[in-house]
């Protein structure tokens, strides 16, 4: 069975201090996978490294057993909501249409089929009445749904989402997780960075637990245990932090060539 995402020794260093160290895992397809860990544990960094937004210092990742470049049209990225300026003069429709640019490139006009897909995406997230609304007039939950609709419009096989449930009302959260489950049933793979332990067991069948380094990865039933959670959330490895500090202070190179 082809894996969805694989990483090998993935290490990203910010200002001489590793944000993620030596991350090694292989994830299955067709599941909703949660990426969890305390604040600053590198969850967003991990997603960005997989998407090629950040270059890893050491190691690499593969998507569907290939380089990301070769399968970009199969992968959709939903960034954190605050990464975007919602005052930008654009309507809901404009933003969802961006999802079609991936296949249209610079010039090709949007076809009837494109329009249909955009409308369908909007309807799946229940945003059709807001189609022409300016994005600055949306609530947090509505903004998240617009992002989701854009991702849907891409019609990808793998979806990477960074904290989609932050600042979102309960009804929207319900609607989103229902949508994600139906996407999973249709064979899509979803990789979701999440922050809330209480809902994690319900939402995810497979999990990656991160605390700058990989603590555990596997089916939820196996990794959602007291010991592993304590290791994930119980503070950083002190020795690891000390080594990181020496690296930074003394300006040592991370790998000796």
């Amino acid at each position: 069975m082809k894996p969805s995402v694989e990483t090998h020794n993935l290490t990203v260093i910010y200002d001489k201090k590793p944000a993620i160290w030596n991350i090694d895992f292989t994830l299955p397809t067709g599941k909703i996978i949660g990426i969890m860990g305390p604040n600053g544990s590198g969850k967003s960094t991990l997603l960005k490294a997989i998407m090629g937004i950040i270059e890893p210092n050491i190691g690499y990742s593969k998507v569907f057993d290939q380089d990301l470049e070769d399968v970009r049209n199969k992968v959709s990225y939903v960034p954190q909501r605050q990464s975007v300026d919602w005052d930008f003069p654009a309507s809901v429709w404009d933003v969802v249409a961006m999802g079609r640019y991936a296949t249209k490139g610079l010039f090709k006009r949007l076809t009837k089929e494109d329009h249909r897909m955009i409308e369908e995406s909007l309807s799946k997230v229940n945003m059709t009445p807001f189609t022409n609304r300016q994005i600055s007039q949306l609530s947090g939950g509505q903004q998240q749904r617009v992002f989701l609709a854009r991702a849907l419009a891409q019609n990808a096989d793998l979806y990477l989402m960074d904290e989609p449930f932050v600042g979102v009302d309960a009804a929207t959260e319900q609607a989103i997780i229902t949508l994600l489950k139906s996407m999973r049933d249709a064979g899509k793979t979803l990789l979701v960075v999440h922050h809330d332990l209480l809902t994690a067991q319900d939402y995810f069948e497979h999990m990656v637990l991160l605390n700058s380094r990989l603590v555990a990865e596997g089916p939820t039933s196996e990794v959602f245990t007291k010991d592993i959670l304590t290791e994930t959330y119980g503070g950083t490895l002190t020795t690891l932090s000390k080594v990181a500090n020496v690296l930074q202070e003394k300006d040592f190179p991370m790998r000796h060539k």
Binding site: N9, W21, N22, D24, D87, S136, R213, L214, V215, A216, L237, T238, T239, L240, K242, V243, V246, L247, K250, D251, F252, P253, M254, R255, H256
Partner: protein, 428 residues
């Protein structure tokens, strides 16, 4: 040579006007350095830029209304428009979707444009004393007179006293505004004091440096000081001294070359101070960084070379010829030669007719390095859940970083292990 005699004549006050220029630039620039420290710490260098450009219309208006080049009126006019500009930037940012940097660019250029329009209008209406207003664009310290200097001294003293009195509050505000608020410090008052002192400093300082370059005088001295200290009091004092010195030197140079505006020379001098500090400064200075790197590289080379002498069977003395040890290593010939000479001077090996033998010191050192390597391999394979074949490369790099303290911690956390992930012995 003639340049030197001219500069010398400046500093010996051989002409009466020189005294004025000297003191005027010294006072104006020193105050800018002091006030600029807070501007820099609060990351508001752009606001400094706005104020500097915005004083121009105030100066022009003061002239139009007062019909003369009275320094007090001009400073008041400058302070008013300078003040309005900061207020407008904040107001626009707060009450519309316009972002802060856009508001800054807009206010800065529009106010400057209004100033230019008024200035050129004044020039074309043939008013006799107006020609002096040009100096505010790039600064002309030589146009100052004694009463100007008295005014600067008085205002400058007031500003300095204010800053000294409120120093603690201003420092905390610059460092952590939210915390300062939470402990009940009068943030609004402190911000007001900073605003007023900054605007007034700029309003006066443009006489020496001019409108366009004034912002440099707020930022650069403080940035320069940052390369020498992390503590705020020395930083403020150093910024004051550096900018004062730049003011004097810059004025001296522009005085020597008649017809040159002062502002650019002062900025060039203070920028050079900043460049030099960036190289030799004690905090983040480039030189220090290179020295540290070189020290690191020496350590790494020494340890990698002695590692080659490690004897896994006897843990004792080993002996190699150059070719043998070269075959064992992955280094270039020249690098290995360098490493071996390092070991020799550190008395970790002895040489005898082409063979290299470890000393007892060398044996210990080799054991230590291998031990650190294997401890780290064990640590990351255990705590990072890595496969044994992934841990070696990591340890190759990290083994040099592990201090004795970290080593002891590793031993404790791993419970004094005897074998590494490849099942080799860990030498103690």
């Amino acid at each position: 040579m003639e340049f030197l005699t001219e500069i010398w004549s400046f500093f010996t006050f051989s002409e009466p006007n020189v005294k004025v220029v000297f003191w005027g630039s010294l006072i104006l620039c020193s105050i800018s350095g002091l006030v600029g420290t807070f501007t820099l710490l609060r990351k508001r260098s752009l606001i400094g830029d706005v104020i500097s450009h915005a004083v121009l219309p105030g100066i022009a208006l003061a002239f139009i209304i007062g019909q003369q080049k009275n320094p007090l009126y001009l400073i008041i006019g400058a302070t008013i428009t300078g003040w309005i500009s900061t207020y407008l930037v904040d107001y626009i940012t707060k009450h519309s979707k316009i972002k802060n940097d856009t508001a800054i660019a807009l206010i800065l250029s529009v106010f400057f444009g209004v100033g230019v329009l008024l200035l050129t209008h004044i020039q074309h209406s043939g008013n006799a004393s107006q020609s002096g207003l040009d100096q505010f664009i790039f600064g002309r310290a030589s146009a100052m007179n004694m009463s100007d200097v008295w005014l600067f001294s008085i205002v400058g003293t007031i500003i300095t006293i204010l800053i000294v009195i409120f120093f603690r509050g201003l420092s905390l505000l610059s460092f952590d505004e939210n915390y300062s608020q939470s402990i009940g410090f009068p943030n609004e008052l402190l911000k007001l004091i900073l605003s007023i002192t900054t605007v007034t400093t700029v309003a006066m300082g443009v006489q020496a440096v001019g409108v366009v370059l004034m912002s440099a005088l707020l930022i650069t001295p403080a940035a320069c000081a940052k390369f020498w200290t992390n503590k705020i009091i020395p930083m403020a004092i150093l910024a004051l001294v550096i900018s004062g010195a730049s003011g004097v030197l810059g004025s001296a140079i522009s005085y020597t070359y008649n017809g040159m505006p002062t502002g650019p020379w002062i900025v060039v001098v203070v920028s050079l101070f900043a460049f030099i500090s960036a190289f030799i400064g004690r905090k983040n200075g480039l030189l220090k960084k290179y020295l540290q790197r070189s020290k690191n590289n020496t350590k790494i080379l020494r340890e990698n070379t002695i590692k080659l002498f490690f004897n896994p069977k006897t843990l004792g003395e080993t002996q190699f010829s150059f070719e043998d040890i070269f075959a064992k290593s992955k280094m270039q010939r020249a690098t290995l030669k360098k490493g071996l000479s390092l070991l020799k001077s550190d008395k970790l090996i002895t040489t005898n007719q082409g063979t290299y033998t470890t000393t007892s010191l060398g044996i210990e050192e080799a054991k230590t390095i291998v031990r650190k390597h294997r401890l780290w391999e064990l640590y990351i394979s255990k705590f990072m859940h890595l496969q044994p074949d992934h841990v070696h490369d990591d340890a190759e790099g990290i083994e040099h970083v592990i201090t004795p303290e970290i080593e002891r911690e590793l031993e404790k956390e791993l419970d004094f292990p005897t074998k590494d992930p490849h099942d080799s012995d860990i030498p103690y």
